[in-house]
């Protein structure tokens, strides 16, 4: 480092912006929350299936988006379909992020944070509300889900509903697989789906009651 002390001091004086702007941003998010103007809060976190964006309204989690789906696109979509009052940060996401962290660490098999499912309507919503019945560590075929929703012929539509699930991970569309047993497609990428199923199999195996044969 050839930059002397003077140079450093000058830099600090000339460009106070970044740290300060960050602090001001944090204050803005808090004020917006207090005054009921924070319609959508979001955060982006690392996970074993890549960077994940999680967004929530005041009433629950609206959206979970994988990096391959495009976080900017997800935010634009939220702005148009929910509200453009979208800001990053704030404590609203703390509970769901904690649960996701526990899930990826193999310490959690279900989610109990409230969901705001306004982005899923009609048949797609029926599918989304049915999926949590597929237990952790198990799978169901698209055909089985279609039957469970009461539309046994709508197998392809179940596939579409899974692909458009606004809250993947929290609503386990990754547990819906092809009838031949192969894992099939996934909004977060086929690889991510295999990762999640492997994680759940391993954890479910470890969690299995040791008294099984006794």
């Amino acid at each position: 480092m050839s930059t002397g002390q003077d140079r450093h001091a000058e830099t600090a004086h000339e460009a106070p912006a970044d740290g300060l702007l960050q602090a001001l941003h944090g204050r803005l998010v808090a004020r917006a929350q207090d005054e009921g103007l924070l319609d959508v809060a979001y955060r982006v976190v690392d996970s074993p299936v890549g960077r994940v964006l999680v967004a929530a309204s005041d009433s629950g989690v609206l959206r979970v988006a994988f990096e391959v789906q495009g976080h900017d696109a997800a935010l634009e979509d939220l702005a148009v379909r929910v509200s453009p009052r979208v800001l990053e940060g704030g404590p609203r996401l703390d509970p769901v992020l904690r649960e996701l962290e526990e899930y990826f660490a193999g310490r959690r098999t279900g989610f109990d944070v409230p969901l705001d499912l306004r982005l899923a309507r009609g048949f797609r919503r029926d599918v989304v509300t049915t999926l949590p019945r597929i237990g952790y560590g198990t799978t169901a075929s698209y055909t089985q889900v279609a039957a469970a929703v009461g539309r046994p012929a709508a197998v392809r539509a179940v596939g579409t509903a899974c692909a458009l699930n606004p809250v993947p991970l929290l609503v386990p569309c990754h547990r819906v697989v092809r009838s031949d047993g192969s894992s099939g497609r996934y909004a977060g990428g086929d690889e991510a789906k295999r990762t999640l199923l492997a994680l759940e199999r391993a954890t479910a195996g470890a969690l299995a009651p040791p008294a099984h044969g006794a």
């Binding site: 004086h13 912006a17 001001l24 941003h25 803005l28 004020r31 917006a32 103007l37 800001l87």
Partner: protein
Amino acid sequence: MNGPFEDVVRVHGGTVLRVCRAVLRGPDAEDAWSETFLAALHAWPDLPADVNVEAWLVTVARRKAIDELRRRARHAVPVEAPDATAGVLLLGSVDGPGERDLDLWRAVRALPDKQRRVVVLHHLGGLPYAEVAGLVGGTDAAARRAGADGVAALRRTYGTQEADER
């Protein structure tokens, strides 16, 4: 507008801070920044899509900053001591926020105190000279002269810097 407000804060946060700091000191400038973005967040969904966002924000920011300045002026007004009034109304030092126009801001900061205040309030803040005079003290004519001198000085110093770079 139907784009995420987060983008607005990221893109224009620095500019708004610069406007606020041109008129107010540190913590007051930060309060004005917060008030500006809170008001903008409130208005955002109803803002027509063809509005120039930066210009709109600068307008909101200077209004918030000047409101704050006026509020302070009302609180401490020793009429017989115009210098004291000027002291209360000390404008923040104009820190260059980085990005473009850094040299212009450096040049503005280098102006004599009264010229700097008048230039900022009139040209950036959009206040007529009569109101500028009310804030910095002295007559309309003196404010007008200080403003003209300030701009002339900027033309000399900033203009030279630009010419040097070309």
